[in-house]
């Protein structure tokens, strides 16, 4: 496909993604400054940013199934951006926990991570997303080499499953919403199994996106 011809709409689409992905943050900041947060403001911040991170992660993971279903390969050009926004919200999520709940008492963090499985899992998910975000620039792909880079980025599946488990374990009793998330994730991952990668066997070109 001619690059020159597609560039303009790709840039436009990326701008739309930027704008869309920043809406939850804008709403959060507005609510935080206009008394719109729930009675437990910190919990509200954590719930919102956690859910947004997961939704964006699901969108990131939907790119591949969508490509296979539609054969519209240029969708790959938006995957990295979505993934990095997912990490961004996970970062706000974790930061609010460190700031408000722990007040940067890292000893308490270690205790929480060791003692509480849902935090252990959540922390693991965050470390994975952090590693993927750090290695998301083009230069890092080159430094690592495509094969190793792809192996590393396969951890995204683990992160997605872990995020849903973390969400479910955080509930007191009612896990309907986490179950819905689990269903959506199952669907996204299921499509991959039903529609195998075209030309499987040779190095997959779809993992790399060098579009600025």
């Amino acid at each position: 496909m001619g690059r020159r011809r597609t560039a303009a709409w790709i840039v436009a689409t990326k701008l739309v993604i930027w704008a869309g992905a920043l809406i939850p943050l804008a709403v959060l900041l507005w609510d935080a400054t206009h008394g719109g947060l729930a009675a437990e403001p910190v919990k509200d911040i954590q719930h919102r940013t956690g859910r947004t991170a997961v939704v964006l992660l699901f969108m990131t993971l939907s790119i591949t199934p969508a490509r296979r279903l539609t054969r519209f390969n240029d969708l790959i050009k938006f995957r990295r951006l979505l993934g990095n926004f997912s990490f961004f919200y996970a970062l706000v999520h974790v930061s609010s926990y460190l700031l408000f709940d722990l007040q940067f008492a890292f000893g308490d963090l270690a205790q929480d991570v060791v003692k509480r499985p849902w935090i252990t899992i959540g922390f693991g998910v965050f470390l994975i997303l952090l590693a993927l975000a750090i290695t998301s620039p083009r230069s890092m792909v080159r430094r690592l080499g495509g094969k190793r880079w792809r192996a590393l980025h396969r951890l995204v599946y683990l992160a997605a499953i872990g995020a849903v488990v973390h969400f479910a374990l955080a509930q007191k009793k009612d896990i309907r919403l986490p179950l819905i998330y689990a269903g959506v994730l199952g669907l996204i991952l299921g499509v991959r199994l039903l529609l195998p990668r075209p030309g499987a066997g040779r190095a997959a070109p779809d993992a790399l996106d060098f579009t600025p």
């Binding site: 729930a38 009675a39 437990e40 403001p41 910190v42 919990k43 408000f100 709940d101 007040q103 308490d108 929480d112 003692k115 509480r116 849902w118 374990l169 955080a170 007191k172 009793k173 009612d174």
Partner: protein
């Protein structure tokens, strides 16, 4: 175990004009209102530095699974509850077992205002100016027998009025209980109002239990049955998740919930946590009830 003595709990009075007038409104509403009625006796038990949580937050941030599991759902859905007429059945080893009309149960008694700290097992907290009758006064007039070792409190079961009961998210009806000496403690309250008004439906109208040194879930709401029993009642959350919620459920910063610490709490509306006090700050009054008990085992 070692029970730390908390800061003293100075009596504290609220002089708030809006509250004063709304109290008159309440008196009228429950039919006690006589022109020129004296202001209700007020006793305050929260710490001096703590202001009551806003009426808005107290009545819109609720755990009341009978109306949904979200914190905002009780306020949204509780309009289907009909708090009047209301009767309460008194059963078990008691001299006066009967089904009492709401007003008959408290005939001749005056409701008291009690400003209590309210600590949820989920590690958030409020300060609420409740209005109610000391549970011990009601129990005394019912005259329990010698076999009454525990008091059981049963919430209404009626899925038409309580849509949350259509799902088995908890075993219905909601049951709570106290040991007799806990029930006879002067801090335990049968609550009928807050902020000088009758209890809003989402807070457990028309009558609920308030036990300020225990986690909030001990306070059964919309009570229809009070039973005097010999065996420790099988309480709802202890049945639903026995490793997470016990029968005693005393506020205790040294015994963590399996999934989170109980050492600190988030006051409603605040961004930062504060330290949780032993027995929610009521250790001076209630610690003696638990002398010699392993509070780690009896959480």
């Amino acid at each position: 175990m070692l029970i730390r003595r908390p800061a003293e709990l100075p009596a504290r009075e609220i002089t708030d004009e809006a509250l004063y007038w709304s109290r008159r409104e309440w008196l009228a509403a429950v039919g006690l209102g006589l022109a020129g009625a004296t202001v209700l006796p007020r006793r305050a038990w929260a710490q001096g530095d703590e202001k009551p949580t806003s009426y808005e937050d107290v009545t819109s941030y609720n755990n009341y699974y009978e109306f949904g599991t979200g914190k905002d759902e009780p306020k949204e859905n509780a309009h289907t509850l009909r708090p009047r007429p209301w009767s309460i059945s008194v059963e078990g080893d008691v001299k006066r077992p009967a089904t009492y009309e709401f007003d008959d149960l408290f005939k001749g008694m005056k409701p008291e205002e009690r400003v209590y700290r309210h600590r949820c097992v989920e590690a958030w907290s409020m300060v609420v100016p409740w209005l109610g009758y000391p549970l011990r006064d009601v129990i005394k007039r019912l005259e329990p027998g010698t076999k009454a070792k525990y008091v059981e409190f049963v919430t209404l079961y009626d899925p038409r009025q309580m849509p949350g009961q259509r799902r088995a998210v908890l075993p219905w009806p909601y049951v709570e209980g106290l040991r007799m000496d806990e029930a006879m403690h002067p801090l335990a309250l049968l609550t009928v109002g807050l902020y000088g008004k009758p209890l809003p439906n989402q807070n457990g109208a028309p009558i609920r239990l308030t036990v300020p040194w225990k986690y909030g879930f001990k306070g059964g709401k919309s009570l229809v049955k009070i039973r005097f029993v010999e065996k420790q009642p099988e309480t709802t959350w202890a049945l639903a998740a026995p490793d997470e919620y016990g029968f005693y459920a005393n506020v205790n910063p040294t015994v963590d919930h399996p999934r989170w610490s109980q050492a600190t709490e988030r006051p409603i509306g605040a961004f930062f946590r504060k330290k949780t006090l032993m027995f929610n700050g009521y250790a001076d009054q209630v610690a003696a009830l638990y002398t010699g008990m392993d509070l780690r085992a009896h959480f």
